[in-house]
Symmetry: C2
């Protein structure tokens, strides 16, 4: 390979990677602003300024487009631990609530559930939700273990997730704080507050 | 109106009502078996044995079809209260888990979230979820009130809803039982078990 060929390859790689980043960002915006039904090759191509053929070449199916959109989510912000368990749990649930609003997590959870029979989607969903739960799992593992830990994670996540998925509404501060107090009150022995 | 005309009107009403029941049942089956993307006028018409024109006449939009499918859900089974709060809460959460599996509530919650910007869908979603939560609200109101009651409902519903919506998995019996024990342990004063 001549230096000129190598440089042309590098240029092509950069182009593909820029296209992917552009389309991924636009696809996520369509998903969260307009819903998964609007996430079509034609619509995303138009908004991103690429040809439909380009999109079909790189991401042939609707599921490919949805997976590409999920790629753009990136790392969600989490509570910086302070060492005060009550404050940290409340802070983390407020970050979760903010992520629901900023990233339209209701739409994202919905579309991932809708396509979960596709193996790759199930894998990506597990990954996204496992990452999302990691901080709260870490905090709760200070006071719970085993089955109690699994139950407690779902219970606290449910304070934000249930009203979101069932009623399209996020909880007020006082509901989040009360849930954390109920949870900590149920800790056996010395830790109960 | 002659008696013959009246009888023909009655026959027509019966036909419309039978068509609605047929199409509603088939639409729900498509939604839960194949997902909301498969819920199209053409596909439902074919499976239900009606013409596409008939479907478009009665239910012009995709949202109309989805609302029609939700119509067929009917009353979900609930725990018959025994008076033992712990047993009743565990029983009710197990009914909720069974409904997730039998009715594919993950798909139903997902499609309702996806179309919730349509007013009628938001209304139907509120109705379905308010009805679904009624028994557990009644049970928990024996020991909680106000903000604690709201938090506790989301926390216990979350034990089934969170793993369902996040990982496509329902909780084992021991997680359900442990969640109820954690919840009841957090009840202030005499009721803590």
């Amino acid at each position: 390979m001549t230096p000129a060929e190598r440089s042309s390859d590098a240029a092509q790689d950069a182009r593909v990677s820029r296209t992917r980043a552009d389309v991924s960002r636009v696809a996520l915006k369509v998903l969260t602003d307009e819903g998964s039904d609007a996430l079509t090759h034609g619509h995303v191509a138009e908004l991103a300024g690429y040809s439909k053929t380009t999109l079909y070449t790189h991401w042939p199916s609707r599921v490919d487009l949805i997976l590409l959109a999920l790629d753009a989510i990136g790392d969600m912000p989490h509570q910086e631990p302070t060492g005060d368990l009550r404050a940290d749990l409340i802070g983390e649930l407020k970050f979760f609530r903010k992520a629901v609003l900023d990233y339209r997590l209701d739409q994202i959870l919905a579309v991932m559930a809708q396509w979960a029979s596709v193996d790759e989607m199930a894998r990506v969903r597990d990954q996204i939700n496992t990452d999302a739960q990691k901080p709260i799992r870490g905090m709760l593992s200070e006071v719970f273990a085993g089955t109690e830990l699994e139950a407690a994670i779902s219970m606290l996540a449910g304070v934000v997730a249930c009203p979101t998925m069932m009623f399209g509404a996020v909880p007020e501060d006082d509901v989040i704080e009360t849930a954390v107090d109920l949870m900590l009150r149920s800790v056996k022995g010395k830790r109960s507050r």
